[in-house]
């Protein structure tokens, strides 16, 4: 039985490496052109090549988004670009335009083509159409129920990918041009201004917002595996390193536990708490178990939670001196209880002591984000680069 794929977003090369180290089986990235996140950092051809090389050494894959809705002018140069990214080593294209799909399948049949969720594909007949075009995988619309996904999987032969975590569109993906009308930014060419998170006003001068809560499918991973879903996709090419490390690391643990028949309610509760701590919105499973209702939206405004759990990113650990060196990210003090977690899934809780700033020497507080600090830590666990520190309890 083929193990389900955990597919992570990566907005840049560092995120690509971190998310693969934290357990993603594949990443999806955007190049500098033709991706629906035109304002993310995105990857140059050279960075794509380096990212692919890094992934392939780990036996993992890189999918490239080429999923804008093309205008006439966008076609100029796309053929050379496709050749360049194929040469750079990508494993799959994520595409919404069927003309581009047919072109890739003819010219580069060795590269997989995945139909983007931008097409909001919600039934098996539409998938049959794309199967005949050679599409290897379909990313389903996020408006489908468990039963509907099951029926689709039963009736199609291509791989099925579903979103499991992150921000949601309010409207059908691709069937929304609110951004174009309100901000003149083209939603379907990578400029979406997320107008569905703006505040409108009704005729009574009351706020009308219709922002959607985020998706969290942690409780349903075992169902999705049993249903035969091929890939579980996390949203968020513009998310932080810390967010990706926590989310991908947590889903990695859940998936592995499902396969090892060791996922207990108690463990799931811990995993869910980890995911909740990095969420800046409430979450829901939306259409999966019921028709989405008023509890899945924010109708009268909401406050974004600013998360300051993230304390530092590990640079190295000296086993002899027992010193952990890291980039500081958020304020903390000696005496605070913090947690170290590693790409390998280790979690270690300890109290901060013997804190040093690289220039100031011994200090009692870490208060300069991006500066290098070190602290005393006595442990035998492996602590590689990109391990993370987060707050558990202020003293």
């Amino acid at each position: 039985m083929r193990k389900i794929e955990l597919l992570s977003p990566a907005g840049d090369l560092e995120r690509l490496k971190v998310t693969l180290l934290y357990g993603a089986d594949a990443v999806y990235i955007g190049g500098e052109q033709y991706s629906l996140r035109a304002n993310a950092n995105n990857f140059s051809i050279e960075e794509i090549r380096e990212g692919c090389s890094f992934a392939h050494q780990l036996g993992k894959k890189v999918h490239l988004t080429l999923n804008i809705v093309f205008h006439n002018e966008d076609m100029d140069g796309v053929w050379e670009y496709i050749q360049d990214v194929v040469d750079a080593g990508i494993d799959a294209f994520i595409v919404s335009d069927p003309f581009i799909i047919s072109y890739i399948k003819k010219k580069h049949p060795q590269v997989e083509v995945h139909l983007s969720t931008q097409n909001s594909t919600s039934n098996y007949e539409a998938i049959h159409f794309f199967e005949e075009e050679g599409v290897n995988r379909v990313v389903l619309a996020r408006e489908l129920s468990k039963k509907q996904i099951e029926e689709i999987i039963e009736k199609v032969s291509c791989d099925i990918e579903v979103f499991i975590h992150g921000a949601m569109c309010t409207c059908f993906s691709g069937r929304c041009a609110l951004s174009n009308y309100v901000t003149n930014r083209d939603a379907n060419r990578g400029g979406c201004a997320q107008v569905c998170r703006f505040s409108f006003e009704n005729s009574d001068k009351k706020d009308f917002t219709f922002a959607t809560k985020d998706m969290n499918m942690a409780s349903y991973i075992s169902d999705l595996i049993a249903m035969g879903v091929r890939s579980l996709k996390v949203e968020g090419r513009m998310r932080s390193l810390y967010y990706l490390a926590v989310v991908i690391g947590t889903y990695r643990a859940i998936i592995d536990d499902v396969y090892h028949h060791s996922l207990t309610d108690e463990k799931l509760k811990i995993y869910q708490e980890r995911l909740d701590r990095v969420a800046n919105r409430e979450t829901s499973s939306h259409f999966f178990m019921k028709e989405a209702d008023y509890t899945d939206q924010y109708y009268s405004g909401r406050s974004e939670v600013s998360n300051q759990d993230y304390l530092g990113q590990v640079i190295s650990y000296d086993k002899i001196q027992k010193r952990l060196t890291f980039y500081e990210r958020n304020y903390f003090e000696e005496g605070d209880t913090i947690e170290l977690f590693t790409p390998g899934g280790e979690h270690l809780e300890f109290v901060v002591s013997n804190l040093y700033h690289e220039k100031e020497g011994e200090v009692t507080v870490a208060r300069h984000p991006d500066d290098i600090y070190s602290l005393f830590l006595d442990t035998t666990i492996e602590i590689p680069e990109y391990s993370m520190l987060k707050i558990i309890k202020r003293h």
């Binding site: 035109a38 304002n39 809705v69 093309f70 205008h71 006439n72 002018e73 966008d74 076609m75 919404s96 335009d97 069927p98 003309f99 047919s102 909001s120 594909t121 919600s122 039934n123 098996y124 007949e125 539409a126 049959h128 159409f129 408006e143 509907q148 029926e151 689709i152 009736k155 309010t170 409207c171 059908f172 691709g174 069937r175 929304c176 041009a177 609110l178 174009n180 009308y181 309100v182 003149n184 930014r185 083209d186 379907n188 060419r189 990578g190 400029g191 107008v195 703006f198 409108f200 006003e201 009704n202 005729s203 009308f208 219709f210 959607t212 989405a292 209702d293 008023y294 939206q297 109708y299």
Partner: protein, 281 residues
């Protein structure tokens, strides 16, 4: 250049001024305000002396495939001129069932380039209703370079988004109130209004400014555009507009009076002369 209209009520007395009519099929169409049963459409096909196009532009779900197949076969039998579709299931079923039904590619905001139009043409799609968010220059390039028969929506309240969520019902539920299925809301920064209209399948957003494409008709005619589309919803004195437009087209699009008269529809030319951006850094 032919003119087809989508009425917002079941009044066909003016249809002799049009070349065709668009009828949204009840249960299978969205982003419209007046729907027709399959029986009504079958009857209209027998009676009317104009091209009958049917809208089947919903996103469909697995449990609806059988009924979609049945209804497409009925539309095929009753001789409709074309079927507007969004969901590729419609095209796939046409292929599987070897239907002679002509299709109109109508993926709202996605019909934006001539190569993809040609792709669909090669797959057996006859027409494309071009996206409303592209410029007149882009439209003309598509018309001139594509093999497909192009349609351009020139007068309407543009539908700008569609959600599966019942956004108005849920809004009132959240407030603990009851209300209608429609809201007019103002975007606070631009001050522009949007109509939020809920139907049986979700919620549609309309931009509350009429797209006034009367000034681009000559350009479209000169470019060889084969169809223009006018939609009644939200457009005052619509049938007078239809009759005047018919005369304007028949006269070769030279009447300055027509242009002057329809300045009253407002100055929104939508994206005909406004290019969207997508990189803001």
């Amino acid at each position: 250049m032919k003119m087809i209209v989508e009425p917002s009520c079941k009044n066909f007395s003016y249809l002799s001024y049009c070349d065709g009519v668009i009828l949204p099929l009840e249960g299978y169409a969205v982003e419209s305000v007046c729907y027709y049963t399959i029986e009504e459409i079958e009857a209209i096909c027998l009676e009317k002396n104009c091209q009958v196009f049917v809208k089947v532009n919903r996103n469909f779900f697995p449990e609806e495939m059988d009924s979609l197949r049945v209804v497409l076969k009925r539309l095929d039998s009753c001789g409709v001129h074309g079927v507007f579709f969004y969901d590729l299931a419609v095209l796939q079923i046409k292929r599987e069932e070897h239907l002679s039904l002509s299709l109109v590619w109508n993926q709202t905001h996605m019909v934006n380039n001539y190569r993809t139009c040609d792709y669909y043409f090669d797959k057996g799609v006859s027409y494309a209703l071009l996206g409303k968010e592209i410029t007149l220059e882009e439209i003309i390039e598509i018309i001139q370079k594509s093999k497909i028969c192009c349609m351009v929506e020139v007068v309407s309240l543009p539908s700008v988004a569609y959600s599966k969520r019942k956004l108005v019902t849920h809004y009132y539920q959240d407030l603990g109130e009851s209300g209608s299925h429609e809201l007019k809301v103002k975007e606070k920064i631009t001050g522009d209004f949007y109509d939020v209209v809920e139907d049986d399948f979700g919620t549609c957003f309309y931009f509350d400014k009429i797209t006034n494409g009367t000034t681009v008709l000559k350009d479209l005619m000169d470019a060889g555009c084969e169809y223009i589309v006018l939609r009644e919803y939200g457009v005052p004195s619509f049938w007078e507009l239809v009759m005047d437009t018919k005369k304007y087209l028949d006269g070769g699009c030279v009447s300055k009076e027509y242009i002057k008269k329809y300045q009253k529809l407002g100055d929104s030319t939508n994206f005909f002369f406004k290019k969207t951006i997508y990189k803001v850094k």
